[in-house]
């Protein structure tokens, strides 16, 4: 049987949206797929050596529950919805939301983003950084992890054109 292939385009650079490409890629690899991810625009943040700057923002995101990852059950179940105007005015609101999210992730036995990326690397998922956006954002190759390639849209299509699954995240 011929090896199945999957190509992903990762365009988001937040802690929450870092999950779909790495979860899909690592799982597909475990199922025997050959996988490539093309990181472009904000998705480039997911290839940085230091990913501690990845954050989650509840601002303008009405789908995001704001619940506490600690305390008694009744307390954890409260949804602390805040008006956008308040969120925007409170300094460090995003940092607080990010650390609460990280605690929730740990409480639920969900892998961290660095762990998932490492699992992808171990499974030979090929990662390509969009050279155009690297330059556009003024990034330097030294900021990114080793073992990745740099290329453009044509590089993406070379592999994507032969895939069974192709997704834009």
């Amino acid at each position: 049987m011929e090896t199945k292939k999957m190509a992903l385009i990762a365009t988001k650079g937040t802690l929450d949206w870092a999950y779909p490409p790495f979860i899909l890629a690592s799982t597909a690899a475990a199922l025997g797929y050959e996988v490539q991810i093309f990181f472009t625009f904000y998705g480039l943040q997911l290839l940085k050596k230091d990913m501690s700057g990845l954050k989650v923002s509840p601002l303008g995101n009405p789908g995001m529950p704001m619940k506490m990852p600690f305390g008694p059950k009744w307390f954890k179940e409260i949804n602390w919805n805040m008006p956008n105007a308040v969120q925007a005015l409170v300094p460090g609101y995003e940092n607080v939301a990010t650390s609460l999210m990280k605690q929730t992730i740990a409480n639920n036995g969900v892998a961290t983003i660095p762990e998932l990326r490492e699992l992808c690397m171990e499974a030979d998922v090929k990662m390509i950084a969009c050279q155009m956006t690297v330059e556009l954002f003024g990034f330097d190759h030294v900021e990114f992890i080793d073992d990745i390639e740099y290329g453009g849209a044509a590089t993406f299509f070379e592999f994507a054109g032969e895939t069974d699954i192709c997704l834009f995240v």
């Binding site: 799982t27 025997g32 036995g109």
Partner: protein
């Protein structure tokens, strides 16, 4: 049922039970049996899908006291 290796995936969430199952199976030889214990309710459906797509046989899938026990025979 006898088994050759056991994977304790308790407390792990998607996709870690599947990724570790794959890792553990790669350390076995064809025909050997892996026992997996998980607490992620999503792993029931995922383990079936994993077995179907990779050719490893899911011999059994059972639940007791909030834990899921799978027996897989390596392809």
């Amino acid at each position: 049922m006898n088994f050759d290796k056991e994977l304790d995936a308790r407390g792990l969430n998607c996709p870690l039970p599947i990724l570790s199952t794959k890792k553990f199976l790669s350390e076995l030889t064809s025909g050997q049996i892996l026992k997996v214990i998980a607490t992620d309710p999503g792993s029931v459906k995922d383990m079936q899908a994993f077995a179907k797509q990779t050719g490893n046989e899911l011999l059994s899938s059972a639940e007791s006291a909030g834990e899921f026990v799978f027996m897989l025979r390596k392809h």
